[in-house]
């Protein structure tokens, strides 16, 4: 039986006999008595448990990232370097993050503060935090109930990009990646982390119905909220073949296990619709763990990547030992939380094709709170307008409107062949009532969802009227930028 091995605050750790569904948070607090890391919600929404993990970014460069310890199962840190708030103070000297946050009175009750310090540590070592909205995006996964955030913003602005010569800088410069491969067993539970496709097939030969996990941002909730003890989990995190992120045939290939932070960085230069959706997708800590494949394979009707990828005409590539098959994303979702994946098959890539000439596309997400919230309705739209100003093709995809993310086929049909004008859009909008009969729940009533579905399409028309691919504003009052 293999051991869990990782580094905690630069000290090597080896453990056996711990249930693989033990979260890093419970391990820190209950087993090694590092109580600086707090539990605020055990679901990745408050950030009080944030720790930093040193790992590779989308380009393979070492990077320090804040993650929620409450959602990390212990085997997920195999071979990694994990840092808690206790690691910040070196030789009795407080870290610049700690001094700054205390000086600006960025703590009041102090319970969220260790997590905030760890998100600020990531900010401290980032090189790209050059705009105020990016600082908010960095910090939005840390809820504070006391301060009203002004001093936290101020502290984050002061430390962003400082990159002091601390232990983290040394670790970033010197650390070589350690193997993540793992075949772990404790009690009746097992956890496998194969480190190649071939090794994955070997596991699947024996366990064809194994549950896959990558970031764990969804699956871990079953453990922390419903106390599930899944007997077998297979992590795809260490399979290099699934982690590609590259241009391909004028479009882009997004590997299933690429983290959303990396996709967001990549999309910034190449795809405004994808970038906008990822801006509002979730907190930094969540995006630092969540993956393209994870978001699509949960097949949630409110999974935020699906609508934008549907609109962009994405295809999924499914792999198994037998080979590879390719499906339009529409055909991947076969029902409420059900996909077309067969036993022994994994989602390998999402291919976003080159966008046609004359395409206008954007994505939208509306939720009760703009940051770190689940959609009431999300949408991805693409309208291809031909040389005569007529709609040659329309792809209007919505989340939160049906049992799966879905296209508004009747509305699309009503637009095709029409001039791309406000009048055409208005005459097509009533068709949305035929496409969807949304539900009422705590994220929005059926009335609100239907209204949003219409209004987002209106907003799309106005927003892309003069600029097919608008540059995204730094900050705006709402997710639709129309005056």
């Amino acid at each position: 039986m293999e051991r869990l091995r990782f580094f905690l605050n630069d000290r090597p750790i080896e453990e056996t006999g711990i249930a693989p569904t033990t979260t890093l948070l419970r391990y820190l607090r209950d087993r090694v008595h590092l109580t600086g890391t707090k539990e605020g919600c055990a679901e990745g929404d408050c950030g009080a448990c944030s720790v930093a993990v040193l790992e590779q970014d989308g380009q393979g460069a070492p990077t320090l990232r804040a993650v929620n310890a409450c959602l990390l199962l212990l085997p997920m840190v195999q071979g990694k370097r994990v840092y808690t708030v206790e690691a910040l103070r070196e030789g009795g000297k407080y870290h610049v993050v700690q001094e700054t946050l205390a000086r600006t009175l960025g703590s009041q009750c102090g319970y969220c503060t260790p997590g905030i310090a760890m998100s600020m540590l990531e900010a401290c070592h980032r090189r790209d935090l050059d705009e105020p909205w990016k600082l908010d995006a960095q910090m939005c996964g840390n809820l504070c109930r006391c301060t009203g955030y002004r001093p936290i913003r101020e502290a984050a602005r002061e430390v962003a990009g400082l990159r002091p010569g601390d232990r983290f800088a040394r670790a970033l410069a010197e650390t070589q990646p350690e193997p993540m491969a793992l075949a772990y067993e404790a009690g009746a539970q097992r956890f496998f982390t194969p480190d190649s496709l071939e090794a994955l097939w070997v596991v699947l030969d024996e366990h064809p119905t194994a549950r896959f996990v990558v970031g764990g941002t969804d699956l871990s909730l079953e453990v922390t909220k419903r106390y599930a003890e899944p007997p077998l989990l297979v992590s795809l995190e260490a399979v290099p073949e699934l982690r590609v992120l590259e241009p391909r045939g004028g479009g882009h290939r997004l590997g299933a296990t690429v983290r959303l932070t990396d996709v967001e960085d990549y999309a910034r230069a190449v795809s405004p619709p994808l970038e906008r959706m990822l801006r509002y997708f979730g907190s930094r800590q969540i995006k630092n763990r969540a993956t393209v494949g994870g978001n699509l394979c949960t097949a949630s009707p409110i999974g935020d990547l699906a609508p934008v990828l549907l609109a962009l005409g994405a295809e999924v590539v499914l792999r198994s030992r037998a080979g590879e098959r390719r499906l339009p994303l529409e055909d991947f979702f076969v029902g409420y939380r059900r996909t077309a994946l067969a036993a022994g098959e994994v989602l390998a890539f999402v291919d976003v094709p080159a966008q046609p000439e004359g395409a206008r596309s954007l994505a939208y997400k509306v939720s009760k709170r703009r940051e770190a919230d689940i959609s009431s309705v999300s949408a991805g739209f693409r309208a291809v307008v031909d040389g005569e100003g007529k709609v040659a093709e329309a792809r209007l995809a919505y989340g939160g409107m049906a049992a799966t993310p879905a296209r508004a086929r009747r509305t699309e049909a009503a637009l095709v062949g029409q001039p791309w004008t406000e009048a055409s859009v208005e005459q097509a909008l009533p068709r949305l009532r035929e496409d969807f009969q949304p539900l009422s729940d705590h994220r929005g009533s059926a009335w609100y969802r239907a209204q949003l579905a219409e209004n987002l399409l209106r907003g799309f028309f106005h927003e892309t009227l003069s600029t097919p691919m608008p540059r995204l504003a730094e900050r705006h009052s709402a997710t639709v930028q129309v005056r």
Binding site: G148, K368, H462, H476
Partner: protein, 789 residues
Amino acid sequence: MSSLPSSSPDFSSTPEGVPARSPLHAPAPHESGLRHTSGEAIYVDDMPEPRGLLTGHLVTSPHAHARLLRVDATKARALPGVVAVLVAGDIPGHNQVGPVIQDEPLMAEGEVHFVGQTVALVLAEGASIARRAAALVEVEYEPLPALLSVKAAVEAGAFLSEPHVIRRGAPEDALAAAPVRLSGECMTGAQDHFYLETQVTLAVPGEDGSVHLWCSTQHPTEVQTLVAEVLGTGRHQVVVEVPRMGGGFGGKETQAAPFACLAALGARVTGRPVKVWLNRDEDMARTGKRHPFLGRYDAGFDETGRLLALKVELVSDGGWSTDLSRAILDRALFHLDNAYFVPALEFTGRVARTNLPSNTAFRGFGGPQGMFVMEEVLNHAAERLGLDPASVRERNYYRDTPNDLTPYGQAVVGNRLPRLHAELMASSDYARRRAEIEAFNASSRWTKRGIGFQPVKFGISFTTGFLNQAGALVSVFTDGSVQLNHGGTEMGQGLHTKMRAVCAHELGVLPERVRVMHTATDKVPNTSATAASSGSDLNGQAVKQACEVIRERLRPVAARLLKLESPGDMAAIAFSGGQVFHAARPLRTVRFAEVVHAAYLDRVSLSATGYYATPDITYDRSTGRGKPFHYYAFCAAVVELEVSGLTGEHRVRRVDVLQDVGTSLVPSIDRGQVEGGFIQGLGWLTSEEVLFDAKGRLVTHSPDTYKIPAVGDAPEDFRVHLLEHAPQDNTIHGSKAVGEPPFMLALGAVTALRQAIAAFGPPRTPVSLASPATPEAILRAVAAARAAS
């Protein structure tokens, strides 16, 4: 002689030669700031676990109302690792934890009254066994009809209080004669405290049936009292200690006690330490929230927007038990007037009983709910009359006699409303911005902006008179270092920072030499809750008094060391910056530590208690008249925001606040209270929606579904100023309370939202906006405004 650390600054050698440094009235970091940021600050759940610690886990009711037929824990007790399963019958003392009215059993007997009510307590070796055992406890219920809303309770005649009426003049006649008559109904929503640290207590049994509790509570004395009653023992057998809280906001004023009592009960029965800790979902489902209020109003105005008469009826949702609901309703009635003189009025209030968690104290304590109704009335009037809502407010401010009398007859002394109004209107550039917004709205089709001016007057004191008292215990050690105990609890608000500053100032020592100790009932007994914004006012006076006693004892010793001869010199001895000296001869000093050590050798007591009771507070509930408040705190805000007419989303663009805190004890701490309070108020009014399902189960029981503001919800431009040159009489060093008043400044956002929403319709469009103003609520209001054209 005494030895001070070498790093301690030596003021006698500074160039000025004048050792004069007080931490009072100067900005300072939070006393625990570096411990917070380093994770070294210890909360109850972080304490090293005592040997033999058991987990206390609750079995709770899945029904909103049911008869409790049978509880069978046989299978649970048989599970290895389970030490005990307790029910109501196992309580040695009194099965009651109601803080004011005895209507709250610790564990259910006969009936359950809300989803989440405690039915049994499992004590086991670790959380996982406890959880499994809890699932094995068999409970049989017979469901009964449940009341799940204020309106349902009113219809059923279910109340927790008799009506409280405050009346002046002949409002019926004045309404009938009023040129403009408005009436309406509004509802404010509940709000979860969402303190980051959930409810937790560690109870450790001691000798002779005693128990020591470490508890996250704003009211250690009440926990001590209730634990003693539940255990059937004397209060002297119970010590409650509060290291610090990870947030309270009122949610740990009364509602820490039941969980603390369960932990104490478990410790007593098993003889082992017991921790009861609620996870987020349990905490949110089982504890009460800010009271939802239903308000109905009938108002009369003249054409200039002057309020002539007002009748208001308030009904709050108390939940299943009384808790603090009556006092909260009282404060709502006391704050219906907010900043405005109402010539003729009748304000009536009553608490409804529902089958929901028992609603409780939350920053503002009914004040926000009362003011919401008044501000709704004024906004309604401004829209009807086509007036700037800010000028409608100004027109109605309390002024000089006779327009200075509140509905309950207390004069508004030291009224700073006109001054705040003028200064903030100017500094925020309100008039120009309002004109710009109107121009923007005329040219913007899908996005509209609004600006709101919000004044607040808030009464300071517990409205239950006897609670206005506090104590302190100051111990000076022979090296000149100081331990400070006071009756207040630290929940993040910076009370300890302020108390340390007061103590250091009075003794003339550096704040670093003063350690603020855990709040504990064996150091300062019989305390009031840290609540009602009163923590600094009350405890500050007690700390000051204790320090004065010690200082007076030290004077003769200092006089001897300084070789001062005449009796007149004694009064001139100054204590400052760790030095003691004659005020007129500051170059000749002796160190505080030397004086203390000499006093010790002289056998002079170096510790003292202090005590304070607020003078002149009275209120007669039967006549609705009195002086319930020591003084009033004032503040004002201007809020500008932008609304999307497509999605109903909004963003706050700029907020200007002018806050009257008297002469601030520690301005940096006060600023933090203002900013934090404002954002919390904004959450209550815009994004925080508490929803129960048709069976009375809380739907929004975690941050996944319950949305407190995140960093991006804070205004892009947030300008907070403390009113200058505004000392307050008869308070600790001229300061004023700050905890609650700024919460209500967020009401300005509602005024701003209404302006933006109205701009989607024709001029003088009436706006009907639900609270909280979620994106959906705003879009509904926009749709209605559009439909008006």
